[in-house]
């Protein structure tokens, strides 16, 4: 019997574990280690943050789902990996620390034959002074990164709306809280959902809404932007993003590294080296992401974290980490199998893998401050990578170490993305986009780096319907309800 241990129960980890459990059957064991008791459909957190959904609508208990799937579930966080085993055995193991109420703080080791690191990110609020401490959200701003954060955000937004109704003008600032953030899409969705809700509440004219982001241009989204075919032209996403902001009267500050957050004020540095301050009454700033801080030790107990993980804490995989300058970057730099190059029985999936470099053009201010989005690896890519890794692990278990590994390079993978701009069955809108491939391949697609026949986007009610349907569809799939394997990632 082989044992697969999956660290993390988000989109990538849940996908890996559930498919592996299904394909391996009861002959082998799948263990999931995740600090959370509930699964969270994170894309809908923005609707919790504006009060259009309850927390219970975007989460569900993991334990009964894993029991149904025959998966061993440990509500704990992974602390360290010993890929060579310990003093008494060569069997590799992970050390975990329980987070469940009944065993909180207790440690345990779990031996494994195969390990998939799908821990997702550490929400690194502490990277920006005033934004928070470590992975804890601070008191000056709100977040929609977790369902609890989103509930808190809605409480604060409600207070701001009440003030507007009472005649007090409010400044709303939404965006990224550091020069190296990713996930601009979530902030993009939140700012336009706020704008939509303010119009519904009849107080839109009482709010000054502003966007602040580390993107060098609106519509970058951490992918270097995209080009769309519209009306016979091929145009940059910059034009469409700016159009939406202008239409909805949302001003923007871009190329900004938020360097400090205080009560009611952010300090920022721009790509031209200048600095500024922006006051706010309500602010949602996405934190930068980092690895969760897993340590790795060899058989002698020596720290080999630098061998297994990149400096940002994400796990090294089969990517080209020596691509050098931007001019040398290629689509082939991106990983295909997500196998750790040192320990072949370890894989990383979703946000947990270390990308070879960013996707957007690297930029920094004259002061040397890097200000560019880091690569998005959430949603559809996370799910596809999780399933691919599950395929590979199952092949290795069934056929041995020479089994063919499955591949899912982000440079050969597309993504469908629906960004809400307001919720409502008849009044909602969302930007529905597809991009192919996620990582541009300028050798295959000179000019835009992508296939413009499969890269498109438009905003409208249809997009909202699709986002709402996907909400129910993916929660249905994650609960492993009948037919769940037929729903694509």
């Amino acid at each position: 019997m082989a044992r697969l241990v999956v660290l993390g129960g988000g989109v990538a980890g849940h996908t890996t574990a559930t498919f592996a459990a299904r394909w391996l059957g009861s002959e082998h064991e799948v263990v999931v280690v995740t600090p959370n008791a509930k699964w969270n459909w994170i894309p809908s957190n923005i609707w919790v943050g504006v009060g259009e959904m309850k927390k219970e609508e975007v989460t569900f208990d993991l334990a009964p789902v894993y029991a149904k799937a025959g998966i061993t579930y440990r509500q704990a966080k992974a602390v360290s990996i010993n890929p060579e085993g310990g003093e008494s055995s060569d069997q590799p193991f992970v050390t975990i620390e329980y987070t469940s109420a009944d065993k909180a703080g207790q440690s345990e080791t779990i031996e494994y034959d195969y390990l998939v690191n799908a821990t997702g990110p550490k929400l690194n609020f502490g990277a920006t002074p005033g934004l928070g401490e470590g992975s804890q959200l601070g008191e000056h701003t709100v977040s929609v990164c977790t369902s609890d954060h989103a509930v808190h955000a809605f409480e604060k937004l409600t207070e701001a709306i009440e003030k507007m109704k009472a005649g007090t003008r409010q400044k709303i600032l939404v965006g990224t809280g550091h020069g190296m953030c990713t996930c601009q899409g979530a902030a993009f969705e939140y700012i336009f959902n706020i704008e939509h809700e303010l119009r519904k509440a009849g107080v839109r004219d009482m709010a000054d809404i502003k966007w602040i982001s580390n993107e060098s241009f609106l519509g970058d989204f951490g992918m270097g932007g995209l080009h769309l075919k519209v009306g016979g032209f091929v145009v940059s996403s910059k034009l469409f993003a700016e159009s939406l902001f202008a239409e909805r009267n949302v001003e923007w500050i871009i190329g900004a590294h938020v360097s400090k957050v205080e009560e009611g004020k952010v300090h920022y540095e721009l790509l031209d080296g200048s600095t500024g301050e922006e006051e706010f009454d309500f602010s949602m700033l996405i934190p930068p992401f980092a690895g969760v801080g897993l340590k790795a030790y060899n058989k002698a107990g020596e720290d080999i974290t630098d061998t297994v993980f990149a400096p940002n804490g994400f796990m090294k995989v089969d990517a080209n980490y020596n691509a050098g300058a931007y001019e040398n970057w290629k689509a082939s730099d991106w990983p295909k199998t997500y196998q750790n190059p040192t320990y072949k029985n370890m894989f990383a999936a979703g946000i947990a893998f270390a990308p070879p470099h960013i996707i957007s053009k690297p930029m920094s201010s004259p002061n040397g401050t890097p200000i560019n989005p880091t690569p998005p690896r959430t949603g559809m890519p996370s799910g596809i990578i999780g399933k691919t890794v599950a395929h590979s692990v199952c092949a290795l278990i069934a056929k041995g170490e020479n089994a063919h590994l499955h591949e899912a390079s982000m440079a050969k993978m597309g993504a469908a993305c629906v960004a809400s701009a307001g919720k409502g069955v008849f009044t909602g809108t969302a930007a529905a986009m597809t991009v192919y491939p996620v990582v541009p391949d300028f050798e295959k697609y000179p000019g835009t780096g992508r296939d413009t026949n499969y890269t498109f986007g438009e905003i409208g009610l249809a997009g909202h319907w699709i986002k709402h349907i996907l909400h129910h569809l993916f929660i249905y799939k994650a609960k492993l309800n009948p037919g769940w394997t037929l729903i694509p990632e």
């Binding site: 034009l239 700016e242 159009s243 902001f245 202008a246 239409e247 009267n249 001003e251 923007w252 559809m380 596809i384 050969k412 993978m413 597309g414 993504a415 469908a416 008849f426 009044t427 809108t429 529905a432 597809t434 192919y436 499969y454 498109f456 438009e458 905003i459 409208g460 009610l461 249809a462 997009g463 319907w465 699709i466 694509p488 990632e489």
Partner: protein, 58 residues
Amino acid sequence: MSKKKIVAEETNFQKNDAFNLTMIPGAFARKMRTCLIWQFIRFITINIKMIIVVGKSH
């Protein structure tokens, strides 16, 4: 003197220099975004496009 008709969609151009350099949809384009018949057609079309991209990605 005849009264000038104010085009609502164009007023935002004046609010910000950056707004002035982009495009803002007119009344027809905005109406079509929530027109049920048109959006139902777009719903079908977008779904087909997304299924093709999803299919190419697996």
